[in-house]
Symmetry: C2
Subunit: 333 residues, 2 copies
């Protein structure tokens, strides 16, 4: 059973999951080794028996856990957290721990192994977002879970251990530190201004346009004012909503459009970079909030986090967001 442990100084939780060391790629993921020839991809159609049984599939034809699907969600075979059990919060001298309870799922975005999310059509990308929503609606009924983190690692340098296009979901029994910080910051801004800080950002960016990469009816894509890394890119809904799962139906198609255009621009600009994206969403089962505003952050993996960043939380970025946005705007996808 994985262990959740809290740093007593900064109150950061970590997951000690020793079984993860056995997954493909093992512990030293900095050593970039391609899968040995003849390796069977567990996410490809026909290999459904290589994964745990599916928890969701969009399947025009065929029975569960067989081929015929267009999108499939399965529990992670090497989960960072386990679904079964109780939290058993306990002290350990000066420290705090609990059992590593949670859900860890894989969203297999397409049956096509050689494809990239960026290479799918908007009609193929949209179901990925519906799948995120379907899983959130299902998992939020489990009252042990306080937060669902949805993210994608693309490319080994960005942490992906399998090539086949997929994103991941981790349901957590605590609201993570980064989310709390974002919520507290947005609340402090609201207390001072009586406006949502994200709505103010959207307004200013649309007025100035210097950091705007793309927009459609519902979303604006920007390089943020203070990016940690070169070409960090955010997709923000223009309309205020605190939860991804509660947006209007038409917005998922618009989001698919914004995501496809953004990923294609990044691919053309940066020669198919490894990247991560993260869905920043409100914690589960909280009322719609005037202060928090869901969004997606995309970070191409272009540089290394080094001692200065680890020690300070400051980031040194050699590319201004204005330059990056101008460059991305010019690229025709």
């Amino acid at each position: 059973m994985p262990d959740l442990r809290k740093d007593p100084i900064v109150n950061r939780w970590v997951i000690i999951a020793t079984e993860r060391a056995h997954r493909p790629g093992g512990m030293r993921s900095d050593r970039d080794e391609p899968a040995p020839p003849g390796t069977v991809c567990p996410f490809c159609p026909g290999h459904e028996d290589k994964t745990p049984r599916e928890v969701l599939a969009y399947r025009p034809q065929g029975p569960a856990n067989g081929p015929g699907w267009t999108l499939r969600v399965v529990p992670n075979k090497f989960p960072a957290l386990r679904v079964e059990g109780s939290l058993d919060r306990a002290g350990d001298g000066v420290y705090d721990r609990m059992q590593g309870i949670g859900a860890h799922e894989v969203i297999i975005e397409t049956p096509h192994h050689g494809q990239q999310l960026a290479g799918l059509s908007e009609a193929e990308i949209e179901p990925v977002f519906w799948a995120y929503r379907d899983r959130i609606l299902d998992l939020r009924r489990d009252n042990r879970f306080k937060y669902i983190m949805i993210f994608k690692n693309h490319g080994r340098a960005a942490g992906a251990s399998l090539e086949h296009p997929h994103s991941q979901l981790i349901a957590l029994p605590v609201v993570p530190k980064t989310v709390l910080e974002e919520m507290e910051g947005a609340r402090a801004y609201f207390a001072f201004k009586e406006r949502c800080v994200f709505c103010d950002i959207v307004r200013q960016e649309l007025a100035e346009r210097r950091r705007v990469v793309y927009e459609n009816a519902s979303f604006v894509v920007i390089e943020p004012y203070a990016p940690k890394f070169p070409f960090e890119t955010w997709i923000l809904p223009k309309h205020h909503d605190s939860s991804f799962e509660d947006v209007r139906r038409s917005e998922y198609a618009e989001l698919a459009n914004a995501m496809r255009v953004t990923l294609r621009k990044l691919n053309l600009a940066l020669d198919d970079p490894p990247y991560n994206f993260m869905l920043h969403n409100q914690p589960l089962n909280e009322p719609e909030s005037a202060t928090y505003h869901w969004h997606i952050e995309i970070m191409p993996t272009l540089s290394t986090v080094a001692g200065f960043e680890w020690g300070s939380g400051f980031y040194i970025n050699p590319t201004s967001p204005e330059e990056a946005a101008a460059f991305l705007r010019e690229i025709k996808d």
Copy 2:
């Protein structure tokens, strides 16, 4: 001039330093390319004219900016921040910025290019810590600076762009977020317990011993209870001091011993891993504090920060600190 910009949501400062893209290695530091043959190392004796003029040197013989030194501190040729100018704090709509004022220096730890810090004798490592202290004492007289971050990147995967053994120092006009968090956490603990959280950690670790790697008269080396990464290792002074620059004279030799033993154990255990270490110190010109306790954190670069970590601030660690400590304890350096 670099630009300091603040994220309006989480109040994280970033440094936009577009001239840094011109340094060796450029923007894509994930592409590991050795220096082309015939490249002259600017940190080697005889090449003193390839660096800006030294700000400190330990030199038994010879004139300034020539050979004969055993340790040399020079301004970074591609600084993230500039020493000259005023901060000019200003708003920019919803955002905040100031000029990128600060100092960025390189501590060249040894004249021997092919050596590693871990390969130096304790008598050679001790002056590195004295140099850190000398530079802190000098720079803290500049009242634009609020914090000095000292760190080491060893190996390209850990962010080093030059091979010759060196550490770095960045003086900042604001106290960085990570330091503020650590100080606030320690203050909250003290408010509740009326004890220093670091002193409590030292006491518990020395009593339990399960996570102790090494100790000498003044320092204990542990794998922390909730490590972000495998083999993350902390060197903690047993005696409470909030500032590195104020410790007793004899402690620098003990620190050199603890650092040498620790780095050699990590090298033997992990096959010469790339690593970062960071000096966690109290902000400049604050009175000695009962709550904060300086220390050094060492992080071998064994894994990648991926989407889950970026989005949540949670870390998934496949190695328990108890296992790592037992393994490191056994290694005879």
